[in-house]
Every structure is written in C-alpha cells, then in structure tokens.
C-alpha cells in the first residue's frame, strides 16, 4: 500500500468516497420515504395510534420489549402481539401486572384508563400491519 498511495491521494479518496456514499444514501432514503405510504396501514397514523405511541414511549416499553425486533431482549416481541394475543388479552394482561410470581420477570402496573388501553391497542394494531417483509418468522415473535 505504502508504495503506490500517497497521503494526499488517500485523503482525496476519503472525501470522494464519503461524498458518494452520502449522496447514494440520501437518494435511497428519498426513495424509501416516497415508497413508505404503500407499506404502512395508513399514511398518517390516526390520533389514537399517535396517542398509543406516546404511551408506549413514556412508559419506556422498549426498555424490556422489542418492537419489530428493536429494543431490549428481556420481554416478548410486541410487533405482532396483536395477532398473537388479540386486543382483549392485551388489555387484560396490562391490567393484571405485576404478576408478583416469585422469581419471575415482572412488568410494572401503569394504571391506564380504558381510553389509554384502547390507544395502546390501536398503536400495536397499526404496528402489526406494517409490511415487514414477513418478519418475524412465526407468531411467537
């Protein structure tokens, strides 16, 4: 390497290569954003979905669960929980926490109102209808 590349050549390749990569990445991002409406249930999430996402965030659900495979790996994947368990089970489960079973992993009690439980479910339903290229491999997440 040392014989045929000088420092200024290496530097120019760096600037050129980086610029090219950034531009390519921006172009792909532009195209992705343009394609996105066809890949999600509703182009603009309904108000209850937005409220549900806000609840999801402010209760730090991602600190234990994964959502579409991202998050912590301490508790089940929830991207497809709407299909796995259905809306009524989800609400009953959230209300029943913590189980207080000795030695078992515990989920906090969030004291959600019925409206808030509906919002959470709406968010999980919306999420479960995203086109994820058939991920996860099966219903267990």
């Amino acid at each position: 390497m040392s014989a045929f590349v000088t420092k200024s050549m290496a530097r120019n390749i760096f600037y050129g290569g980086t610029l090219f990569s950034v531009l390519l990445f921006l172009a792909l991002t532009f195209h992705t954003t343009w394609q996105l409406p066809g890949r999600i249930p509703t182009a603009t999430p309904a108000p209850e979905v937005a409220r549900g996402k806000h609840l999801w965030e402010t209760r730090n659900c991602i600190g234990c669960h994964t959502l579409l495979g991202e998050g912590a790996y301490f508790a089940p994947e929830l991207g497809n929980v709407y299909q796995r368990r259905g809306p009524d089970f989800i609400k009953a489960w959230i209300k029943a926490q913590p189980t207080k079973a000795p030695g078992r992993r515990q989920m906090p009690q969030f004291n959600f109102s019925d409206q808030q439980l509906d919002d959470i479910v709406a968010f999980l339903k919306w999420t479960s209808e995203i086109n994820t290229e058939k991920w996860p491999p099966n219903i267990e997440g």
């Binding site: 980086t18 600190g63 234990c64 996860p136």
Partner: protein, 469 residues
C-alpha cells in the same frame, strides 16, 4: 515531568469522570444480568427497563467524557498551541457532569412517565426510544455542550497546526453533534421514527465514532511507536474511507424488517458484509505500527490497550457483526441475544478500549510523570486481561444463548413462546453473570492500579517479576 501544553490538564477531570461512570455502568450491568435469571430481583425499586437505561446511558455518557478528554489532551499537542479556552472546558465539564448525574437520578427516583411530564416531553416528545431516553433538557444540554466543545476545539485547530489526526477527529466530533440532532425528530409514523432513529445510533457507532476512534488510536500509536507521521496518517485515511464507504450504506442492515422497502436487504447485506474490512485494517495498522516502532516506549500498558483495541474491535464489531448481518441470517437472529452478544463485545472492543487506551497513555503525564510505576503497569495489564477475557466469555455465553433462542423460538417445527424459551437459557445467563463478576473484578484491579506504587527496592530483589524485564 511537565505537560507540553498547560491546557492539556483539563483532560484530567474528564478522564476521572469517565472512569467513575464506567464503574456505575458495570454495577447496573450486574443488576441486569441477575434480573435475567432472578426476574423479580430489585422489583419494583429498580425495574429492568430503568436499570437498562442507566446501564446504556452511562456507557454513552462516559464514552463522551472519554472522547472529550481525549480531544482536550491531544488537540493542543497536535496543533502545537494552547487550548482556545481552558475555562470553557472546565465549565462544560461541570455542566455535562451535573446534567448527566441529574438524568440518572431522575431515572432512578421518578417514574419514567412522570419524568416525561415534568421535563416538557409533552411539548416535544423525544423520550422513550432506545438509547435516546434522556429528558428534553438533557438532550438540549448535550447539544449545548457539544456546540461549545466544538467551538473550543475548532478555534484551537484554526489557530494551530492542522494535522490529519486533528482534522479526522474534528470531522468525527462534528458528525457526532450533527447526527444527534435526529434525536429530536420523532414522528408518529413508527417506520419513519425507526428509520431516522438509526441515523443517530448506527451512524454514530458504525460511522463517525470510528473517525474519533481512528484519530485517538493514531495519536497514541504515533507517540508510543515513533513511526513516521506520514505513514500513520495515510493509514488513517484508508481506514476511515473503508469505514464510511461501507458503513453509511451499511445502515441498511437495520432496515430489513422495520417497514422499509425490501431492496434494503440487498444494500444492507452487501455493504455491511464489507464493514469488517475497516476493522481488519485497523488491526493490521495497530500491529504494523508497533512492529515498526522506532522507540521502546516505557508505557507498556498503553501499548497493550492499543493493540487490544485493534483486535477486540475487529472481533466484536467486525466478526460478531458479520455473524448476523446478512439478511437471510438476520431474519432469524434479529432482536435476539445474538444482538446483545455483538453489542457487548463491539462497544467494549472499539470504544471502551480506545478510551482506556488514551487514558492509559495520557493519565500518567496528567499526573506529572512520564509513565506509571512498574507495579501499577503490571496491575493495569492484569485488569486488561481480566476485563477483556471476561468480555469474550460474556459474548460467547450470550451467543450460545442466542443460538438456542433462535432454534427454539424461530426454527423448530413447533416454535415455543418467548418466556418458555428464556427459561431454558438460564444456564447461559448464569454463566454470563459470573463472567460479569470477573469483569467487575478486573475493573477493581484497574481502579487500584491508579494508586499502586512500586515496592521499596530491597523487597523487589529476588522476587519473580517476569513482567518487569
């Protein structure tokens, strides 16, 4: 012994804070490791999600302390001029430390939803996304500290000598600050949220942070090997070219299953499969420079950390990253303990070790001596091996857990439920926790090495001290 430039001394509190927060990070890591097997440990006082937030946020904050300390130490020496404003550097240190401490106290003392209410999350919702959990005032504080820090470093570079090392460092730091701005973008469309969330997370650790890593490592290797600057800087340019050309499009390996178009499986797989190359180049670079050294630097511990960074960054980020980066593999491994295994060794091997490298090199001089006493160095090298080997085992146990998890939950004909699978991984989680205890022991040895003095000469005579030769 005196520092070449007086203002380099501002690096010292940054390094001390970094190490202190590192200790906190590992303590919370041990809590988390135990919660994996004793599920209700410390519940409801410290639920898993809170402990994890503390663990990951402390990591980020202490690495940032380390990067800033590194910049304050190496920029005056590289630019051959005093720092623009040591006072500003001191001030920012306290702002950042207090903001960081308040944030951690907030996590531990206040329910997260109340913390969000109290800190303006209803005005601009940015919280509750992995690694970006910080309340709005903390995020704004990070921006202010980053801007003032960049101003200070930038002005210093402007008035002094401009070397490739400082330019690369500055590009990395500017990129770090600019990309953090995406932390403020949180649309209600989850797919868009996730897509741009990675612009902070991926483009930090697999992008601009690697520039910072390269600059710090290049500086230390320049100092301890005495190899020609031209050679080192040329290597750096080659490494960071490979890093960004593979890493930017390589972001695509996070876009396979989150709602982005399917073509990302191709872009992401091809480019991220090449991401190990810059890390391999880094390994070759480290060993090459040390082999071609023109002087025998008495700081053997720093040399060991530098070589260790080269090897472990390649293993953790390169090899363990490649293991699950191809889309057909990632389809099964995505969001399992395989990811956790990779995350642990990559962060340790690349960023923890490079910060410990610069601390090992600079701290003796910041404390008024060229190198640490022999015994302190031997202890420090013991801590290197304890921490590094235990991290290898943490990674191996998590990888084993991950393989079993993928098999039971995603591959066999009658896949099992998440918690049923977790119960069967308990043995690996216990072994991971024991390896974590060894890591903590290594960290204690590391801390102790700062206070170790050589024994009086008479006691040393006749003792077997292979490392002292």
């Amino acid at each position: 012994m005196q520092l070449q430039y007086k203002s380099q001394a501002v690096a010292k509190p940054y390094f001390i804070a970094a190490i202190a927060l590192f200790v906190g990070q590992i303590l919370f890591g041990l809590i988390l490791g135990l919660q994996y097997v004793v599920g209700d440990f410390l519940f409801p006082a410290i639920p898993f999600n809170i402990a994890r937030m503390v663990h990951t946020n402390l990591l980020i904050v202490w690495l940032l302390f380390g990067f800033m300390g590194a910049a304050y130490y190496l920029v005056p020496e590289e630019t051959e001029t005093e720092l623009h404003s040591p006072l500003l550097a001191h001030l920012l240190f306290w702002v950042f430390l207090v903001a960081g401490a308040l944030t951690i106290v907030g996590y531990l003392m206040v329910p997260y939803a109340s913390l969000a209410d109290m800190t303006g999350n209803n005005i601009l919702a940015t919280m509750g996304r992995e690694f970006l959990e910080q309340p709005l005032p903390t995020k704004l504080g990070i921006v202010v500290v980053a801007l003032a820090f960049l101003y200070n470093i930038g002005m210093t570079i402007l008035k002094g000598r401009k070397t490739a090392i400082t330019i690369i460092l500055l590009m990395g730091l500017v990129g770090l600050a600019v990309l953090f701005l995406f932390a403020f973008y949180n649309p209600s469309n989850l797919v868009k949220d996730k897509y741009f969330w990675w612009w902070v997370v991926h483009l930090w650790v697999e992008g601009v942070w690697e520039l910072i890593l390269g600059a710090i490592l290049g500086f230390v290797l320049l100092k301890i090997t005495g190899v020609d600057r031209e050679v080192i800087e040329k290597w750096l340019y080659v490494i960071i070219t490979l890093t960004l050309v593979t890493g930017i499009i390589g972001t695509g390996h996070h876009y396979y299953w989150i709602g982005a178009p399917g073509y990302w499986q191709w872009w992401g797989s091809v480019f991220s499969a090449l991401e190990p190359i810059p890390f391999f180049a880094l390994t070759v670079f480290c060993f090459n420079m040390v082999n071609r050294r023109r002087r025998q630097h008495p700081n053997k511990a720093a040399t060991l950390w530098a070589l260790g960074t080269g090897v472990m960054a390649f293993l953790g980020a390169g090899v363990w990253g490649f293991l699950h980066t191809l889309a057909p593999v990632n389809y099964y491994t995505h969001g399992t303990q395989i990811t956790a295994a990779h995350g642990h060794m990559a962060f340790y091997g690349a960023y923890v070790m490079v910060v410990l490298t610069i601390i090992s090199y600079a701290m003796p001089m910041l404390r008024g001596r060229e190198v640490n006493p022999e015994r302190a160095q031997v202890l420090e090298m013991w801590s290197f091996w304890l921490m590094t080997v235990s991290m290898v085992f943490i990674t191996l146990f998590l990888t084993a857990a991950g393989i079993l998890q993928v098999w039971l939950q995603r591959i066999i004909p009658n896949p099992q439920a998440f918690m049923a699978v977790q119960d069967q991984l308990a043995m690996f989680y216990w072994m991971r926790w024991l390896a974590g205890l060894v890591f903590m022991a290594g960290l204690v040895v590391y801390l102790y090495s700062f206070f170790a003095k050589d024994k009086p000469q008479t006691a040393a005579v006749g003792e077997a001290q292979p490392a002292a030769t």
